[in-house]
Structure formats: structure tokens, C-alpha cells
């Protein structure tokens, strides 16, 4: 419990630094467990308020229950929701059969880039965690992106103590990662401790399967699991040695490295 509170304090500190330093700030919300915890932490940081818009990059291939959940929570919590979509690519018939990396780049990376450009955001808050996969382990809390949204992972500015990169040249933006130090178990323990409403796709509803990580319907497969509650999930995670994103097709081979260098979340 003490560890969870330390993680919470650090994330809250980062969120407040972001809010102080970025005039045009937004938070990415995919309705998954991580970005929902992030949203909750924003409410912690700003005492029940969320003083920036939430972005959802809609690929049109999301599981329908996720969209229903999104709209309900946004209404109940009074959120400012901004939905972006790469309509051009969709009109041209983009889908995962054209290649997963190609599809992710078009609908997610480029969808996000279009949104950032249209709205002129200078700071984007994301719920990525260091333990998810290798390239995310290399991230800073405040991570600069150049004019093309690209990430130069080999020459990142230093990050010292509680001092972050909050100044940047015009035309570039900063990705802010308040959840970097959280693990998958921490996320669920926190959901339990705070009683955060989450989407029930993460639970088994009697079919012996559940989602462990949520993405687009065609590229995300449920895992075999009988976890029917948060407690069940935590217990299951304590005993598993299977990677969290093993159900995410984009991670295969060198997928995530290539995607993230070009500005994927």
C-alpha cells in the first residue's frame, strides 16, 4: 500500500508539472486500464477536476463496448473529450490485413499526429509503463518529440531528481509519461484500492477468457482466464510468467521499436 501511494505521489507531481508548464496540454485516453488509472490520477492531482482535454484516437476497429464506456464515463465525470480519426486512411480502406505495422502507423501514429497538429498541442500525457515492453523502458517522464513526432531515443536530455524537460523549441512537442514506474500489478492494485470503474472486458464472464490488454478488435486476442474480479486478476498476475502484451500482435518481431521511433504511443 505504501508503494502504491509513492507511485501515486510521483505521478501526481508529474501531472502538476505538466499542467504548470504546458499551455496546450492534452491526455491520451484509450479506455484501457492504464490510461483510466492515469485519468483517475489527474482527478487526484487537480482535486476532482480534469483541466485539459482527453484525446481518443479512434481507429474505428475498437471493441464497441469500449466506445460505450468512453462516452458514459466522459458524461459522468464531466470530461472534455476530443476524438480524432485518420479519415483519409480509412476512406482508402486501411485495415490490419494490409500489414499490422502499416495499419498501426496509419490509424494510430498518424491519427495522433494529425490531432496534435490540428490542435497545436505542445504536451501530450500518455499512460505508457516501463515494464510493458522494451522500448518503453527507455523512456523519460518528459520525452521530447521533434517536428515530425519522431523520438531520438539515443540522445535524450537528462532527467534529474524532480526536474523535467519542460522547455522546447517551437514546432516540437513533449510526451509526458506519469505511469512509467508502475507495473501491471500496481495498476490493478490501485484500481482496487481506489475502487476505480473499469471496463469489464478485462473480466471473464463465464467463457473462460478475458482481455489482459486492450487494442483494436482484429489485433487483440483474449487470454484463457477465469478471473472474474479485480482480486482474481491480481492473484492471477502474481502467478503468471506470461508477458502482458502477448495478445498484442503489433509487438511481434521488431514492431514496437519501429512504431515508437516514428511517434507511436
Amino acid at each position: 500500500m505504501q508503494h502504491l501511494r509513492q507511485l501515486e505521489d510521483q505521478s501526481v507531481y508529474i501531472l502538476r508539472e505538466a499542467y504548470k508548464h504546458f499551455d496546450n496540454l492534452a491526455m491520451l485516453w484509450s479506455m484501457g486500464k492504464d490510461s483510466t488509472v492515469l485519468l483517475w490520477l489527474a482527478r487526484k492531482a487537480f482535486f476532482g477536476h480534469v483541466p485539459f482535454p482527453l484525446l481518443h484516437v479512434d481507429t474505428s476497429f475498437k471493441i464497441p463496448a469500449m466506445i460505450e464506456y468512453r462516452d458514459r464515463v466522459a458524461r459522468e465525470w464531466g470530461l472534455q473529450l476530443v476524438v480524432g480519426q485518420n479519415k483519409e486512411a480509412l476512406a482508402a480502406g486501411m485495415n490490419s490485413s494490409m500489414g499490422r505495422v502499416t495499419c498501426c502507423t496509419a490509424l494510430k501514429t498518424n491519427g495522433l499526429k494529425q490531432l496534435i497538429e490540428q490542435k497545436g498541442y505542445t504536451g501530450i500525457i500518455l499512460g505508457v509503463r516501463a515494464d510493458e515492453e522494451g522500448t518503453r523502458a527507455k523512456e523519460r517522464y518528459f520525452s521530447p518529440r521533434d517536428k515530425h513526432g519522431d523520438w531520438d531515443f539515443r540522445d535524450q536530455p537528462p532527467e534529474l531528481w524532480d526536474q523535467f524537460k519542460t522547455t522546447f523549441p517551437p514546432g516540437t512537442h513533449i510526451r509526458i509519461h506519469p505511469l512509467l514506474d508502475w507495473t501491471e500489478i500496481n495498476i490493478w492494485e490501485y484500481i482496487k484500492a481506489e475502487n476505480i470503474p473499469f471496463i469489464d472486458l478485462y473480466l471473464d464472464k463465464g467463457e473462460g477468457t478475458r482481455y489482459r490488454s486492450l487494442g483494436c478488435a482484429p489485433c487483440t486476442t483474449p487470454i484463457q482466464s477465469t478471473a472474474k474480479s479485480v482480486d482474481d486478476i491480481i492473484n492471477e498476475l502474481r502467478h503468471t510468467t506470461t508477458a502482458e502484451r502477448s495478445g498484442r500482435a503489433q509487438d511481434e518481431g521488431r514492431g514496437m521499436e519501429l512504431l515508437r521511433k516514428d511517434g507511436y504511443m
Binding site: 516501463a130 537528462p158 510468467t241
Partner: protein, 614 residues
Amino acid sequence: MTEITMKASDNLNIVIVGHVDHGKSTLLGRLYADTGSLPDGKIEKVQAICRQQGKEFEYAFLFDAFLEEQEQGITIDTARTFFAWKGRQYIIIDAPGHKEFLKNMISGAARAEGALLLIDALEGVKEQSKKHGYLLSLLGVRQFAVVVNKMDLVGYRQDVFDGIEKEYREFLGQFKAVPQQIIPVSAKLGDNIANRSEQMLWYKGPTVLDSLGAFKKEPGRSEQPLRMPVQDVYKFDARRIIAGRVTAGRVKVGDSLVFSPSNKRATVKSIEAFNVEPLPVEGHAGQTVGITLDEQIFVERGEVASHQEQLPLVSTAFRANVFWLGRKPLERGRRYQLRVATKEVDCEVAAIHRIIDTMDLAQQQGSNVVNRNQVAELTIRAKVPVAFDLSVSFEATGRFVLVDEYDIAGGGIVTELVHDDQEFLREEARQRDFAWVKGEVGVEDRAQQYGHRAAIVLVTGGRHAGKSFLAKKIEARLVADGRHAYLLDGGNLRRGLDADLSEGERGQAAEMARRYGEVARLLVDTGLIVISTTNPFGLAYSEAAQAIRTLVHPVPVIAIHMSKAPEEAPPNTDIVLSGPTDFDEATRQILEELKRRGVLAQAIGAKPTFQYSI
């Protein structure tokens, strides 16, 4: 099940440092494998890539997430990974040892609560072994073990180990660093990592994992005097919340707080929180909190809240040990942004006392620059007074970073307060403010009533530059606009308040400036916009202006400098007017500046609604 399934009740941030190729990634891979912390199939996957690339499998490859790394065989950046062992979760930061990547090592170590420092038994103590050891000490990582790796390559010989231990302890001793342990290991073969080595029965100390297990969580900063740097002020609803992280001590409801350097005081009314019932009554070191105060005082980011008995230091200058990571060398006299806790202010390097060679700790004097990856002793001078502590007493408020253009380019620890010429006046102001007797009407009440805040408009410059004329014009304009403004002409003090001063004292301006500053302080406390000139101080206007600033702090001072020909204005001047002056244009500029600084918050006649969280 193994230890991994036990609930981790504790956690610790660990950094692994040392010279390039001394085996940091291999050690990390081994720690994961031996604690059963690897996901299923991870080893097999990496082995498959190795086969494909025709390489022999190494534990180090487990953490090489980037293709480039597999090609270069070195880890590129600070990777954050986790493993659990005996009820504790370790967050391991795999800091690389390549010289070019020092900034990543520092980023990693700055977050660490403990460190493992690797030395290759075959190569012995190298440059980076020393530099990293020294930097750990500079960064405040006091808890570390030295791991002498690749013992298998020296036939597990005790004399080789003893030689390295002796040499390295002597080096560390020069800056009084003492390792928890020095451990002989072979990360590749697993000797003394999780299991005791069969090959080195002469070694009786703990294994690497046992040594990590003995590392303690950081000592109780909560027992120190309170430090809470203000991060932001929020007014999302009826509550005006001052947010910040408690970096030392405890803050409680009912506490009387002093904010430095403004010396504002107020009592904690509540500690606010979301989804917490009932609300907390206390916040302790490490926590990010939000407090409300019993009084609407104007405090802003960068101030440090403490209790009155144990105040932080306040000065414009301090001496520090700094490591420099910038692309451009650090230069004496150049402008940088200084960040101490939440305070962000322009500064310059007033002196470079010496460069410290971390190889032999020799000191090199007389340099005007500090190059990338060098450590130096400096004096830093900030544009305005800053609240801070010495790093030996307080960690978070005793360290800082320097920003060059857009990037954090260096960091350091404060070793000494440097006295500046405002010290006595600043102390006078502090004592006077603490003893100040207030009525029922507060500063904010007056501001609401008047429709503007108190401020000083200070016109500096030599004789016959038109200062008095401009001052009169501003006063007239402000009053015509319905503001409460008053021209405080220094000459009016001469034959009254200053009548007792000797000729000598009048010549020096110091005492006159002090009295003038105190009178101005009284007038701004009444809520007035005071317009003043440095006329009575002759050519000592620069010193006088500084003294007035110190005494009226933290009331905003709008400084205007006037001269017939272009000349250097005193520090912190807002508007420079040289040559023939268009007084209407000058007045307009000054009114704009008053608006920009939040003194004239809204149009005349509008209902005053102040946004306090400027």
C-alpha cells in the same frame, strides 16, 4: 512457487553503474534469471535471435531492446526494469557505462536509493569506475556495494580481488564514501549473485542479492524540519489550493507557515484530497499535497513553505558542486535558467573556482569554461533572491539544475551560502514582516476594494533625464483612471525623516535608501501604487533601487530607466527609455506593464474578480 509470487511489501530503486563492458547488463540478466523474474519464453526468444545473428547467447542481450544495441553490444539508455526477491520489488535502472552516455547514468542514479558499482577483475579500476563512484556521492546515493565481476577470468584469485578492493577503497576514502560491501562475483557463471560461489570459499561476505536485501529504504526525511516548495496554486472551485510536495518534515492542519523568500505567513486551514474520506490532517515527506490557508495571501510557485523556527536560506548567490552535461561548455558570465525545487529563475555563473578531475580528484584552477562531463566548483548568482538549503542538511532543496536553452544541461548541490550586499536589509525585512501587526483588513481585501494591487513604479536614472516629470505624469494618469496612486518624492523625506542624518550619511545614500524603502513599504501596505524616483540618491541610483526592492519585497516593482544617451540600466529594469522621451508613449508602456504584472487586473468599473493563481 518461488519468491516472485510473494507479495512485494517493499520496493527499492537501484542503479547499476561502472565502466563500459565491465558486465552491468550481464549482471542484470543474471539477477532476473536467478530470481525467476523473466517472462516465459524470453530466454528462448533471445537465444533464437542470437542463433539468427550467429552470436553466442549472453544474459546481457535480455535487456537490449533496440536493434542498434544488439549490433553494438552495449546498452544505450537507462532502462527501467523490475524484479522481486524476498518480499521486495527492485526497480533496476540499467545505467550504461559508455563515456558518451554519462547523462543517462546520471539520470538513472539521480532516482536511485541504492547502487551496484561494477569493476572488471581482469581490467581493474578504470576511469569510469572512479567517475561513477564520485558521481554517486555527488548525487547523494550513499548506499552502494562494489561488485568485482569476471572473477572467473582471473582464476577466482583472492589476491587480485584484494588489490582492487584496496585501490578502490583508497579512492573512495578521499571523498569519504564507504561502500556497504565489496563482493567478488562472476555474473556470467552465477557466482555470488544469488548463490554462494563454490570457487571462492575465501570470501565470507554476502552475495549480491543478500547485499541488496540489506539496503534500507531512505531514512526518515519526515523527521526533519518542514520544507514544502510551492508547485502551483489552483482555483478550480471555491477552494484556493496551494499544491506542492513535502520534501522534508510534516505539514499539519493548524500549522503556522512562512513562505520564503516573500516572508508571507498564514495558517493551514485544511489539507485537500480527492476520493479520501475523511480528509487528511497531515502530510509528510514525499507526499504531494494541497493545502488551503486561513488567509488569502498571495504566494506563488517557487516559494518554500516552512515553520518559522527553521527557515530556509535566502540569497541571490551560493557556492555549489556542479556536473555539466551540456552540448556547449558551461561559461562564466553566460545566462542559464536555475531551477531549485520549483523555483525557476535566470542566473549566471559568477565564478568557476576549479574543475575537479574525477580520475584523481586533482583540482585545476583558472578555467573560464566547464566542458561536458566535467565536475566543477562554482558560484551561481540568481537574478532574484531564492530560497534554498545546503545539501548536507536538506536533499531536495539543496540541489538544483541548470537549463541551457531548452535542455537540462547540468546539476549540482549547494555547498555554501554566498552573502550578497542585500543580506542585512533582507534580514531587516524578514524580522519586520514577522513582527508586523495586522488589522482585520488584509492585502486581498484592499485589492478587491480598490480594483488593483499595490505596486512600486520606480524611475531610475541620472540627473535631468526627465524622471520627475514622468513620475508626475504617471501619478496623474493613474488617479484620473480611478486608481489609488501616490508620488513619493525622495526630496520630501530629506528635511523631515532624514533631518537627523549627517552630511556623511547623506553622501553615502545607504541609510537614506533604507528609510525611503521602509516608507515605501508602509505605503504599499495601504494598497497604494507608489510612484517614486531615485532623485535623492544622485548617481548611486542603482544601489538605492536594489535596496528599495529588497525592502518592499515581494510587492511588484516596475522599474523604468531613463537616460539622455544609451547606457546600461540597473539589473531587472523593465522599461528602458533613452534619448528624447515621448512621455505619453512612456506612460502607455508603463500602464501595459502594470497590467501584465497583474497589478491592474481589470477595467475600471468592472466587478473586481482577482485570479490569485497567477
